[in-house]
Symmetry: C2
Subunit: 391 residues, 2 copies
């Protein structure tokens, strides 16, 4: 095992109907007035908005609405939200939504208190100091990103369309309410995108970590991925299956609360790196984009880490081939077929993209390779070569 | 999935050599003077005491020694430790040792601040209020109990020899240093006891939870148990195998940081309940006692939860029998044989106990069944019947 330091103080309140406890949980954090951050109209339609605001009222917590978070949330909207939080005198943020809403809520929490411009933190030109973010609580309505139990946030720059990330413990939600009932209205396409995203969070460290005896981390990843696949199958077969909705919600949280990658040593996230330009430049849903870049990247990675791709194939996809290369190839084929069967695009063409877009996508991915220290091997040429495997 | 609330704010600092960071971590908690709680002479012999105190000195943290914690730590020693912490003006506790030392350190942390008598909390007659325990840091030198990342503590009453537990978030260590190098001197017998204890923590909820679709929790438990078994094999084959020591350390932490049992619904710990009288009354090492009571209890439990014991057999022990009852029986036999092969006692006779002791052991276990709400079925008669399966 490799050295690590881990602390995850987020409190999880999980269970059917727990959305009605939101107000009490927010009040227990000592908050009196929150900026209520959400997306479009879905939480108005499915009753979550009413349940949350009723619970805030009952708990004596005031709120200021801040709707309009978009998928791939924009810097400008986050900056405006921070101004609104300050103007309203909010002492905290309450995010109600999926990964995009949580990610923007974190940017708002930071923007409302931190001394530098919001984008400076995402560009790595500034670092959060103690107390430089408003406390954040969350009600998760779309499991996928793990943002509900980590300190990560991804924001898209309006003009350059670059997606950048900040990861900081101050941005961990203090409390996250996970009520599977709120996910019953998540449509099949987004169930598929979520599965793709959550699986990617787990297998990128699984596939790229250094060779070592890491049975705890391998077992954790294998358990999470198998759980996501099993839950996804059940949800798509019966969207009202609350047990499966709950399992998916918890699996996605554990997939990216950073616990599973503790001790795995250096690892990287090339599938995410290759995906961000797809969603940033072309508004492809993030999970859908990962279903395109993931298998393509694995095919490329497979030449040097045949052992790990073969382990993925055998332990997560029940491939029984004895030969590593054959097992790895079969695993990638099965994984792509599964992603497609559940409703993801799996080629650039499926997203309406092709050779014409590859150079710009590759250029942006190569910039991220630098920013994220993904590896010097991910040059513009290499990224283009990988993307061509996704045509 | 079943509802739960989970928050685990313990910071883990993991890695070879991290013991030298102890002082800096303690100082970062704002502590200026700690009661240094440890056991017998082993940390003096293996250099851990010197490394810890040198790091405290370097960080400007004063300490008062409080050695002498015994296996199955005693109430009287904890109460005296709390008095010493108060007398010394300690603003925190630093535990250096295994589960016994951590458990007693928690009792001391509580005793130094809480308004009621220490045993009142263990008997359930008093409950900790906010701030009613000194902050605690820990250096773990024997992985097994998970005490380094949970709020649990077990103490033995000097006169009655009863073992009782308190579980409270105030008793979570603020920071735990996990340095695999400190475990290199753990002898093979204690490696075996540790494996038995950590596996038991994981499989008791796995075997007794209600029937439900719980792939996340099942996968987590299966990964942890397989990791413990693989790491144990490697440590016993090569005691200097640091990779395996590290894997064992992290696996034991994850086995009982309460994350794995989130959402599994009602479950109980009958093997622990049946074991506590063995260690409380007869000073059998806790993990060794579990190797005796665990398989016996499984044999009994198997009649009503054949499905779960069969799942344990297939997914953790690679049993391939198609019939559930046959798979379960084969799994229990393999598990007992494995526990024995690595160096555990697996019968009461192996511990020098027999029919003469069963009535008193059963009486104490049945009292615990009430205290822990393990289940009304665990009467004195039933406990005796299970213990007879361990002869």
């Amino acid at each position: 095992m490799f050295p690590f330091s881990y602390c995850n103080p987020t409190k999880i309140v999980f269970g059917n109907g727990t959305v009605t406890q939101t107000g009490a949980e927010v009040a227990a954090l000592g908050l009196r007035h929150v900026l209520l951050v959400y997306g479009q109209s879905s939480i108005r339609r499915n009753g979550v908005y009413d349940a949350v605001t009723a619970s805030l009222k009952a708990a004596g917590v005031a709120w200021t609405d801040y709707p309009g978070v978009s998928p791939n949330p924009l810097l400008s909207h986050a900056v405006a939200g921070a101004a609104q939080a300050r103007a309203a005198g909010a002492d905290g943020i309450l995010a109600v939504g999926g990964g995009s809403v949580l990610d923007e809520a974190k940017a708002i929490a930071l923007g409302a208190r931190a001394p530098h411009a919001v984008w400076d933190y995402y560009e790595g030109r500034a670092t959060l100091g103690p107390g430089e973010a408003l406390p954040l609580a969350a009600v998760l309505t779309l499991p996928a990103t793990g943002s509900e139990m980590n300190g990560g946030t991804v924001i898209t720059h309006d003009e350059t369309r670059e997606k950048r990330a900040v990861i900081h413990p101050l941005l961990n939600p203090k409390t996250s309410v996970l009520d599977p009932e709120t996910t019953l209205t998540v449509p099949p396409t987004y169930v598929a995108y979520s599965a793709s995203d959550a699986i990617s969070h787990t297998i990128e460290s699984y596939l790229t970590r250094p060779p070592a005896f890491l049975p705890v981390q391998d077992g954790y990843a294998e358990g999470v991925v198998r759980a996501i696949m099993a839950a996804t199958e059940r949800i798509l077969a019966a969207p009202g299956d609350l047990e499966a909705r709950g399992a998916m919600m918890w699996a996605a949280t554990l997939a990216w609360n950073f616990l599973g990658s503790c001790g795995v040593g250096p690892w990287s996230t090339p599938a995410h790196m290759l995906e961000h330009p797809l969603s940033g430049l072309h508004n492809v849903p993030h999970g859908a984009g990962l279903a395109v870049t993931g298998p393509a990247w694995m095919t490329w990675e497979c030449r040097r880490r045949t052992d790990r791709v073969a382990a993925f194939a055998r332990r997560m996809l029940d491939v029984s081939e004895a030969d590593d290369a054959a097992a790895a190839a079969e695993g990638i084929a099965r994984f792509r077929a599964w992603l497609k069967r559940i409703g993801n695009p799996v080629t650039l063409a499926d997203c309406g993209l092709g050779d014409a877009q590859i150079p710009e996508l590759a250029r942006h991915a190569a910039i991220l390779a630098q920013a994220w220290a993904t590896g010097a091997e991910y040059t513009e040429e290499t990224c283009a070569a990988i993307l061509r495997l996704a045509r």
